[in-house]
Symmetry: C2
Subunit: 736 residues, 2 copies
């Protein structure tokens, strides 16, 4: 029967072929027979492949032949039943792989026995007792985890497909899979059809189960949504969740998470329905997505922590291993991936994994780091919903990365952080994004869920290196409103040049305040480290309070102003919108035009030199107030506060010097910036004069005309400056 169909297929036109893949050869979802043969052959001689094989074998051999518990769901994340079901789906997949790679039926039997238990359990399940979200799970507290289960159980089924009798297959499909698939596609359809990372997993689960069980209906729903109209499902996700250059709407932390089901499902589709050419879709959007995620990591592999993110996650996590190994197979070998693969230290037991491990073996000169470069990501399916610019200078360990965010909200994991900046230097976080408050999978910490402080503090504007107006977050902290808008990118000039620039305008975060930020990463002649010149303008008809924090990480070294520490009694900075979580450790009223604050992070000094007006207040703060369960880290911030209608905040961040506590040698611990003054601030232009070690740095920007061809002219201090394009930087009377 199978042979007949396969034979017939060859004669049918491509369009029809796509949807007639019933009863294909298995395995086909995660791997194929020919790939298995290749991997098998190489395991004995390839150390990394062998290590990955041994790890799986050791883990599975410890339980094979034993009765494995499939408990009635009860616990939240981190609890016994949660972890057991998670263990089980990993075990099923791994044991299925071992069956393929060793031919030993004991591994197939283990999977089958577990499936029979799930076939009994799953039809009995209602919503999980710990379910708190709008999309409750059944085996787990949230549907997302059920989708994870479907993905791995589906892959496992495919791996032992030929070991099962047709009756066994039918029994498992009906008992273990159908209740879950029906629940997704019939009960919580709106969740399944959402354009969102949870739905990516849900579709991958349903689709992989479809391919594994030869259920074309499932596959169609997974590819095109429950209504099969293409408005949901994998294709809609590929088209809707990424921008044209691979930026994933929820940010890099979730890109990591999303690439796994994308790649796993696309890989299965590519095997089962090669004519769809799923990996080619949208100019190889999955390749761009993977590389976009890698570009948004720190030197230690940690994903940039804007939006909801946990800083512990790095590119060595399993999701990226799998995606990178599949990418290696489908998009071809790529040396740029090798530093990442080397750090990962393991590969999948697949053709891609084999390729990666061989390249690691053969390549004697693997670069120390991913080849990070400056990059401008657009946001939105059409690339017209703002974006994120990453401005970089320096090589290897000396890399400096400035992230400027003017993207759209980022779905449910977005923060109220329009025009936020973050800075990484030498592999360290310098100006941080807090990320999210969560202890993933630690049951005592609210079942491992996002903690309430994520909403009450970490998502609020004041937690970010951007302006908060009148102690109220952007869009009043209302997600449905924030999702409607995005800032307008004005110009992005990035690359290997002395001045990199990125500017954006937001007109929606506040009703009567426009926010305009231009950041300039300037490498002065002969300098080894760049200088950040940061123009933040607010425009309003009414007087407001503008708070601009620098969430620095480091030790206070010195200030050029006096401040009062609140030595015996700490008060909060405010009482709502995140302010209730911030202790005011010290405050200052400054009258001079220059406020300087130097801090030390690891072995480098950083000085923020700010132009301040008479009314300015400065605060040294720390998080941790109103934190009844000790969910927040205690993090410092340096907040500048201005009361004005219009504000033109000029901040210069200087990266300087070195402190070596081992050799006890300190160099350049003092800033070289000695003056920061505005020279113009009109509707048309803003500009600043900065004195550095006796020389003059001038930064001008156009506030209205942003194209690269318009000529501009300004007379400052009797000198006429003429240039073309939206900004100009002069140092020591020479244009940079």
């Amino acid at each position: 029967m199978k042979k007949t169909v396969a034979f017939l297929l060859l004669l049918l036109p491509a369009l029809f072929v796509q949807f007639s893949g019933y009863a294909q050869k298995h395995p086909i979802a995660f791997t194929t027979a020919s790939d298995i043969a290749l991997v098998k052959k190489n395991i004995p001689t390839n150390p990394l492949l062998k290590q990955s094989f041994d790890e799986i074998k050791t883990a599975v051999d410890a339980v094979v032949g034993k009765d494995i518990d499939v408990p009635v769901p009860k616990d939240a994340g981190g609890g016994y039943t949660h972890d057991k079901h998670k263990d089980n789906y990993n075990l099923m997949f791994n044991s299925g792989m071992l069956f393929q790679l060793t031919g030993d039926v004991k591994y197939a039997k283990l999977v089958k026995d577990l499936f029979f238990k799930y076939a009994v359990l799953n039809p009995t399940l209602k919503n999980h007792p710990e379910a708190t979200s709008a999309s409750p799970g059944r085996i787990f507290w949230q549907a997302l985890n059920d989708a994870n289960w479907l993905v791995y159980a589906g892959l496992a089924f495919d791996l032992i497909h030929d070991y099962l009798t047709p009756a066994e297959r039918a029994q498992i499909a009906a008992g273990a899979f159908k209740p879950e698939v029906d629940y997704f596609t019939k009960d919580i359809t709106s969740w399944f059809d959402l354009i969102h990372n949870h739905a990516v997993w849900a579709c991958a689960g349903v689709g992989i189960v479809g391919i594994a069980t030869d259920n074309e209906e499932y596959v169609k729903m997974a590819l095109y949504g429950s209504k099969k109209d293409g408005k949901a499902g994998l294709t809609a996700h590929l088209d809707g969740l990424f921008s044209p250059n691979g930026y994933y709407n929820e940010g890099p932390y979730y890109t990591r998470y999303a690439v796994l089901p994308f790649f796993l499902f696309a890989n299965a589709v590519n095997h089962a329905k090669p004519d769809i050419k799923i990996f080619e879709r949208r100019n190889k959007i999955l390749k761009q997505a993977l590389e976009g995620a890698l570009e948004q990591t720190n030197l230690d592999g940690g994903f940039y922590s804007y939006n909801d993110a946990l800083k512990e996650k790095t590119f060595v996590s399993n999701e990226v291993v799998v995606a990178l190994n599949i990418a290696w197979d489908v998009y071809g070998a790529n040396d740029a991936y090798l530093p990442v693969a080397k750090a990962q230290g393991r590969v999948t037991l697949s053709k891609g994994g084999l390729g990666v491990s061989q390249a690691l073996l053969q390549n004697k000169n693997i670069a120390p780091y991913y080849p990070y470069k400056s990059v401008v990501f657009t946001d939105g399916a059409d690339g017209k919903m703002g974006g994120v610019s990453v401005l970089r200078t320096g090589k290897n360990k000396n890399l400096t990365s400035l992230i400027f965010k003017y993207s759209s909200h980022g779905l449910s994991h977005g923060h109220y952080d329009k025009l936020n900046i973050n800075l990484y230097d030498n592999g360290n976080e310098i100006l941080q994004d807090y990320g999210a408050s969560r202890f993933i999978n630690i049951e005592q910490k609210w079942g491992g869920r996002y903690l309430p402080e994520t909403k009450s503090y970490t998502q609020q504007s004041i937690a970010h290196n951007t302006v908060t107006v009148d102690e109220t977050s952007h869009f009043n902290g209302i997600e449905s409103v924030s999702e409607k808008y995005h800032p307008v990118p004005l110009y992005q000039v990035v690359g290997n040049m002395p001045v990199q620039a990125s500017a954006a305008l937001d007109t929606n975060a506040y009703k009567d305040v426009q926010m305009h930020r231009g950041v300039y990463l300037i490498t002065l002649p002969g300098a080894t480290k760049p200088l950040l010149v940061d123009f933040f303008r607010t425009i309003s008809n009414n007087t407001h309070q503008y708070d601009l924090p620098f969430n620095y990480i480091g030790n206070v070294i010195s200030t050029n102003f006096k401040y009062t520490t609140h030595s015996n009694n700490l008060q909060t900075l405010g009482n709502k919108n995140g302010y209730q979580h911030i202790w005011k450790e010290a405050s200052a009223n400054v009258k001079m035009p220059l406020a300087q604050f130097t801090f030390l992070n690891n072995q480098t000094f950083y000085t923020i030199s700010s132009y301040v007006k008479d009314s300015a207040q400065l605060f040294f703060t720390r998080t941790g107030a109103n934190d009844p369960n000790f969910n927040l880290r205690r993090e410092p911030s340096y907040i500048t506060r201005t009361r004005a209608k219009n504000m033109f905040a000029i901040n210069v961040l200087e990266l300087h010097g070195n402190f070596n506590p081992i050799s006890e040698i300190t160099t350049n611990s003092y800033a070289t910036v000695t003056s920061v003054l505005p020279v113009i601030d009109t509707e048309a232009y803003s500009g600043a004069q900065i004195r550095i070690a006796g020389k003059q740095l001038l930064v001008f920007q156009s506030n209205k005309i942003f194209d690269s061809k318009t000529p501009h002219q300004l007379v400052v201090g009797g000198v006429t400056y003429s240039w073309v394009g939206p900004f100009a930087v002069y140092f020591d009377n020479k244009k940079l």
Copy 2:
């Protein structure tokens, strides 16, 4: 002339030889002609040696031939003149080495030119303008740094000795050296003759200059004190600053610092006066000192931070490189040193450095870590001034180290921390000692000196994991009193056994309170991690407040008791003796017998299960109050407070579970201890019953009889327990 003397020496009796070494062959201080020849020969083929040579050569070549500034002393640590003079003495030494290794006279000339400048400057110097200490410096703010200068300048002189004419030698000796040596040995004699690390440097400086300039008078003062009576100088330091098993009185951080002048000077003495057999003195005390320092490091090489200590310092610092390389030469090859040498990644250009680098090349199986073992250090020259026990379990990365400190004060860098414990696990600090508050060599931070918060907080008892009575530090925080006393060690049972124990009694820290602590590091059958059972008894005729902090590092995961957080308004825990620096973040009044607190440090969970009486209070605190210059880190503590005459505090610290944020797998995040109760607390015995996962752990200790041979008997719960020795531990009815 030289040859005649050398010839004559062979004929003279040993005793005479010792003090007739005038006009010896040079170089002789840091190295000798034959060693230089050996190193020269090997540089081309030995990568590490070559790297060390190249580093020095690159640094010196950058300035050789240029006019080098010898500024009039002006700045404190981290300032220009401070750093310049420091640079200069390193440069002189390095350039001297290059002269020896290359024969190029330009390197000798560089040294000579600098010496001529110092010969002009030094006679003009009075006390340094930034001098604040009782032992002011002249080139630097403190005399200690002048001693550093003498050491390296002396070594440099020796290296170019033969390049200089006799007249030049005389000019340098009189101008550059004599004012400094006279200042040390005539003006601040009491400082020079102190038994203290500063004086070790001072003697090394004077002695090395003596050897380099063939000035026997200097050498004698350096060996035997300014009065040459043996009550000071190197020999007195070797006899007085170390205990018989190599414990250095000021603790490991200063051992690191002291080993350098000890080894450098001893090495020079060993070359110039081999008959003294200085390296053999006191059963090779310098070898024991070096190894004692290495034993007191964390897996990352950081020295245990009790007493004044900066956590950034590790065994890769130059001091340890030099000491280890000399030890390799004089005490012979030692594989135990190789993990340290490998981490150091550089060697000295000496016979020892050559030996180390060859061993690193040839040895393909260098252990990942120094072979740490449990060890009991005695304190005091006679070993009878208390001590420090280090109880260890686990191998490699899994090492657990409990440090129990019952030593004497530790000179001016000691803390008021009798019976303090610290815990390290998996290379992480779990129960920390704050160390000292200092930003070494950062001028903005009070010239790089110890900051006021070192005295006001970090040295105070409340900053330590030991009891503070009535909010007053041990010995009322008076150093001169603390230096007179030390606790009494009761018993120390350490090694590869299921129960390791250490106990000590203090009767002097408080007038009417005796403090008795017994710590038991117990590895239960089948367990991978140990359990710490901590008995802290206080005995008094009067009611007192006893505060026992656990200065944990980590995130609060859970407690089994309710507490009140001080959400909107933080107050300090007290107003003096360190309490003024502590914010009270949360407090609890507990009524039940068991208080449990779980925290997470990196990937491991730790639970403190405490037996609490009705009157107990618990505090979650954080440092940072009354810190006007942001000198303190913000560190948490968990403080148990008892009001009583006698207290029997039983705390069980359980090390458990694993949290892997990358794989999102959490295991054993809950403690297994379910009950902690006293079963006896009399003058004669104390004992506790601890229930762990349904089984009973009993810990008994004798409070009066501590020898290992006396039999003891106790009836508890109708069962008779008989054992021999000061303590007994039973688990599940079996004696461990």
